[in-house]
Subunit: 271 residues, 4 copies
Amino acid sequence: MTSKEKDKLKHKIYTLIFEAETPAGKVFDVILLLLILLSVLVVSLESIEELSYHYLPFFRFLEWTFTIIFTIEYALRIYSTPRPFKYIFSFFGIVDLLSILPTYLSLIIFGSQSLLVVRVLRLVRIARIFKLTRFINEGNVLSKALRASMNKILVFIGVVLLVVVIVGSMMYLIEGEASGFTSIPKSIYWTIVTLTTVGYGDIAPATPLGQMLASCIMIMGYGIIAVPTGIVSVELAKSDRETANTRVCPNCHVEGHPVGAKYCFNCGYKL
Amino acid sequence: MTSKEKDKLKHKIYTLIFEAETPAGKVFDVILLLLILLSVLVVSLESIEELSYHYLPFFRFLEWTFTIIFTIEYALRIYSTPRPFKYIFSFFGIVDLLSILPTYLSLIIFGSQSLLVVRVLRLVRIARIFKLTRFINEGNVLSKALRASMNKILVFIGVVLLVVVIVGSMMYLIEGEASGFTSIPKSIYWTIVTLTTVGYGDIAPATPLGQMLASCIMIMGYGIIAVPTGIVSVELAKSDRETANTRVCPNCHVEGHPVGAKYCFNCGYKL
Amino acid sequence: MTSKEKDKLKHKIYTLIFEAETPAGKVFDVILLLLILLSVLVVSLESIEELSYHYLPFFRFLEWTFTIIFTIEYALRIYSTPRPFKYIFSFFGIVDLLSILPTYLSLIIFGSQSLLVVRVLRLVRIARIFKLTRFINEGNVLSKALRASMNKILVFIGVVLLVVVIVGSMMYLIEGEASGFTSIPKSIYWTIVTLTTVGYGDIAPATPLGQMLASCIMIMGYGIIAVPTGIVSVELAKSDRETANTRVCPNCHVEGHPVGAKYCFNCGYKL
Amino acid sequence: MTSKEKDKLKHKIYTLIFEAETPAGKVFDVILLLLILLSVLVVSLESIEELSYHYLPFFRFLEWTFTIIFTIEYALRIYSTPRPFKYIFSFFGIVDLLSILPTYLSLIIFGSQSLLVVRVLRLVRIARIFKLTRFINEGNVLSKALRASMNKILVFIGVVLLVVVIVGSMMYLIEGEASGFTSIPKSIYWTIVTLTTVGYGDIAPATPLGQMLASCIMIMGYGIIAVPTGIVSVELAKSDRETANTRVCPNCHVEGHPVGAKYCFNCGYKL
């Protein structure tokens, strides 16, 4: 094999593995995602004690199969990419390595397979599939709205954290050890659980004063939940409007034509 | 009875049972719905042990009454429909059969009546009543908005599921068996319970690190709940606006002209 | 006292008690509301065992004081109103009677004072105070929006109830007695607790299948909560817009002038 | 040092401590905030028993360090401000005193350090940092929207409190002592926990009638949560629109012209 043939093969592998525009690349991506999903499912099922007790050899076999396939894929990625080190130390490079390492480590260190769950991080690649489909527009509108509301939401989270620390400390002083408010961090944890209306009930106020303060926080939390919703709604409406009607009438320069309009609704000019 | 008379009767029954536009058809539909509601109520009440202990014969009598009525209705449906097999294997055909079968089976197999709850599925027919009333417009606006936001919500649910699997696996590694995180599927279940702010408290993090991660998820869930609300709000506003401006172009009969439009956006005709 | 003087007095009392436009009527209303609030507070505090144990005579004294005042008020209402029977059998007439009766009954039947909590219903009169204040506009916008969205919300609640009955029955079949799903009504109760993201945790699914179904319901509930919020937002926006800018420019007939505008923003005409 | 030099020094300290516009003032503010955050962190960690057991001397040392630094700061504030008494009796003056006092008191009264958590209130100063950054605009939009929706939200909270008191009393009558509804205030607390969808589960209805009423409250709470969200969304949209259109009239300097305005709505000047 000449060096040129090698280069050609390398490029072919690169296109297959790293790109998703060609039909073969698409097929590769879908198969890879199915394998990742399956391997995550196997790791999940193995973590159920009753199952792992009965089907351990079968799970081990699947684990090694997936590990070997992913190892080959990892090797091909390093081989075919023009800048191997950039890939190895990129986020996906590290995730790819971490999702095969635990199986090999389990030969030396007993029990390290449970680290295989790190494989779920590979699922982030699923985002690439989305890029190729009709969901791209929806995803864009959503992420545009979220980016636009980011600053407002940061201010909001800042205020919420301040409230949570102050209220958590007050609850620690009011309730004390008896009802489970054993430390300030734990009280802050309780305040977050309450303010977000999750409400586990593992810690709950027992004194009348504590219950009164808790009631105030809940009603506050009720109002507070309205703020991010309002922020995102407004940004979504804006981002949606901008994506939808930016066609301007060439005659009278009026905007806001409905989707599929053929004539300007203001002057009757053909669009 | 001649074949023609038979056909006429058949058609009459068909109109009565399957259609809802005639006054008799409407009455039939309302009576049928009341019977379904009553039979579901009886099955519900029978499932309460204290009641079934005291009033068993009475419940049995009602059960058989409803079953016989529904059996006659089922037979008439098969008899009157022009394409019996299409009906039998349709969704409603199967549901209709399943809602009478358990009572007959209870003669052979003891305890099979509890399967009668399948009858609740017949309640879906209630949707037909809605079609006939002033709620039709409201229902249309709602379902139009939900259909329009479907793609965005699918992208959103995809992202949420990805987050849930990753966080669930992390909680499994962090918390371990002690606090109830006994397997990855169970940890994922806990993550969903927390992210949706349901918060049963049957499983709750006990380690400081777990509680910190849980706090992050809750505050995230707080922000995340804003996204579907925003999506639906925007679509509802759009769908509402479009339904409101139902001015029809007298030339091409296209709807949905913006407020203040002077010309039809489709054919340029002066409104 | 002549009959004319009597009539005058009657009318004076009527204006004082039933109307709220005169300064004296306003003062009467505020004092009455304070008395109702205080009497509700006393009934509330008496229900706390530790307090009622120590301060029973004091509570009884207050109770009788309030009862006598409210009895006089009730008598004056009957005396002064032109149509006594209409008042006696109106909602407020019955509530007024019920809020004094239990104290008298407690002389005959021991323990009937606990029925005094019915007095809280008198608090609904607080709505009259709102009518007199600057909150009237805000209240109008809110109630207008809620009335406008009523039909949509009824359709929505209908669909939710249908889902709740179907899912509740399924959970009863899946989970069974072991995890607390002892009857269909109880399973439906659990489904409502879960779908509304309240999540007490007194009943929680234990089987993998049950937990999977529960996860689906939660994620559904997440999306479902978006619907009423969207409906109310849209109606509030509409109702707010209509209340705000309905001024039309007399020259060019353009709407939507900001509050406090002096000139039309489109043609510069003085409004 | 002459009196003039003293005055100059005083003014220099004042600018450094109280103002945040100069570069030195900014640096001072950031350092102060870091110290407050650190001291809150130390108080929080000390409240965890396992940590305070092992590292008590270290925590005490840090505590005294922070106290001495804050004491010097407090003294300088009193010294440099032109009106010392106004500062001492202002909100921040009292908070500043309260955040150093407990450490000194702990020399006399054992255990008073736990009052040091009052220091978290100093974190409110963090708001000053926000004033200096690009978050100012976002914060303005948010606080403007919240102020504008205040009246509507007050009406809403009034109605919610009325419902909560009435339903809480009904639950007390229905459920009674057995299921934890031991007094009316406790029942009201439970109603708030349920209506806000927090749902601890420390108190939960056990009777069928109680569970039915609870179900109604939950579904109501579901609809009720929509109201503040709708209010805030509408106000945010308005406040956002007004902030966005900050075109100022060159003639009368009025802001807030609608998009597409050709004339100032205040003075009729052509824009």
